[in-house]
């Protein structure tokens, strides 16, 4: 039994190590992990071949990045100490904002953990501020989104997205908690008495934890890859036929930032697809500033705002959506100024 356990552990570690080494190799070798097809490559092909060629192009480059992203996301979800994170996030102290922005998103890759944690934080008296910060930072700053954004769009814009989304999440959470309706909401909720929680997590052996991590990575892949494939098909046609003059007219300059931020809102797309579409738009001429605004549009997309408004009320939902839109435009403009990318 022990031998079998050791073998299992070793196999799993080897699997994880394989992806880490491949990823480092790709980074060191500056080997591109994104599709390299251009409109000219795709336009000559029969219609049905376009998505296949584009996808094959993506798979050839992207399997390392995706495998790495899923594996590492699973590992983080398993090994980040959750009780610790939750304890500080619901403490009502300023540190709650930092934890909600930096650490909690790392293990909240799918919405099935995001929304419950958000409402849990609120009902446990953690306050609307940190709960909103978490809700806004999680889709942009989860590990999976970070890795894929950096690989597909480059580390500059990836890093800018992480920093800008994180800072605006904290600012927005704080501001909303200071509005009259935010304060009223907090008072109403905190009447629920918080009892001492009885949580004594059992210890698990390493092989069980690794297995659990990989299983979660696989679960994420199963959930996300089908949507991603659909996204890639759409993006391939987009890349082939969307007139680049349109992009160059509307998604450049200061107004381009505003348009990108507006476009990103109602378009309900999972983060990874947003990144893929972003890549196609960049290839067609979208500027870095507009790209950043585009990436930051996720928190205020309509279905997201609707589902949170059921928990916090429409006043708070509208307030944070408007603030998130302003933050996206502001960050895009600032990034455009810094990079000179207007």
């Amino acid at each position: 039994m022990d031998k079998k356990q050791a073998l299992k552990t070793a196999l799993m570690l080897a699997f994880i190590l394989f992806f880490i080494v491949m990823m480092i190799q790709a980074i060191v070798g500056a080997y591109t992990l994104t599709p390299t097809s251009t409109a000219e490559d795709l336009q000559g092909l029969p219609l049905w071949q376009i998505p296949l060629v584009y996808m094959w192009d993506y798979v050839q480059h992207g399997w390392v990045c995706l495998g790495f992203a899923f594996t590492i996301s699973g590992l983080f979800a398993e090994f980040i100490p959750k009780s610790f994170t939750i304890k500080y996030m619901s403490s009502g102290k300023p540190i709650a904002y930092v934890i909600a922005m930096l650490i909690a998103p790392l293990f909240c890759v799918c919405s099935c953990t995001m929304v419950p944690l958000f409402s849990g934080l609120i009902y446990a008296g953690g306050g609307i501020g940190p709960a909103l910060t978490f809700l806004l930072a999680a889709p942009a700053n989860n590990l999976l989104a970070d890795i894929v954004t950096i690989q597909v769009l480059g580390w500059q814009i990836g890093l800018a997205d992480i920093v800008a989304a994180g800072i605006s999440a904290v600012v927005i959470g704080f501001l909303v908690s200071k509005t009259p309706w935010g304060k009223k909401f907090d008072q109403k909720v905190q009447k629920t008495p918080a009892q001492i929680a009885s949580v004594e997590l059992a210890k698990q052996p390493l092989d069980e934890r690794l297995w659990s991590a990989l299983k979660f990575g696989g679960y994420l892949a199963k959930r996300i890859i089908p949507a991603f494939v659909v996204g890639l098909v759409a993006v391939s046609y987009f890349q082939a036929f969307f007139p680049s003059e349109l992009v160059q007219t509307y998604l450049t300059g200061a107004m381009g930032v505003v348009y990108a931020a507006i476009l990103a809102g109602p378009l309900y797309t999972p983060t990874l697809i947003e990144v893929a579409i972003g890549k196609a738009l960049v290839n067609l001429g979208m500027t870095p500033g507009a790209t950043l605004a585009w990436l930051m549009g996720q928190p205020y997309d309509v279905p997201n705002a609707l589902s949170t408004s059921r928990i916090v009320g429409w006043k708070i939902a509208i307030t944070y959506s408007v603030l998130a839109f302003i933050a996206a435009v502001f960050s895009g403009l600032l990034y455009g100024l810094i990079t000179g990318g207007f």
């Binding site: 939750i86 099935c112 419950p116 409402s119 009902y123 918080a194 929680a197 004594e200 698990q204």
Partner: protein
């Protein structure tokens, strides 16, 4: 006769991982039932106020045994649950 109370704390409507954990808890319970241990399984909603005032904020799916949360934020195999249950005997 020994009795163990198990609570599977998940999302409502149930997410795939919460459902799996519940199924596996039932499997583990059936195994122990064959040995004459009574295992009662209940389901809690992680976002419901009663669950939160009892256990605080949790990451779903979580598993509580006899009123103590043992594991959270992961899908649990039947074997793991069985081992945790045996510890209570």
């Amino acid at each position: 006769m020994k009795e163990i109370k198990v609570e599977v704390i998940g999302v409502d409507p149930p997410c795939a991982r919460c459902k799996k954990t519940e199924e596996n808890a039932k499997k583990a319970a059936a195994k122990l039932a064959a040995e004459g241990v009574k295992v009662e399984i209940a389901k809690l909603d992680v976002t419901a106020k009663d669950a939160i005032s009892k256990y605080g904020v949790l990451v779903a799916p979580a598993l509580a045994i006899n009123g103590v949360v043992k594991l959270m934020g992961k899908e649990l195999d039947a074997g793991v649950i069985e081992r945790l249950l045996r510890k209570e005997l």
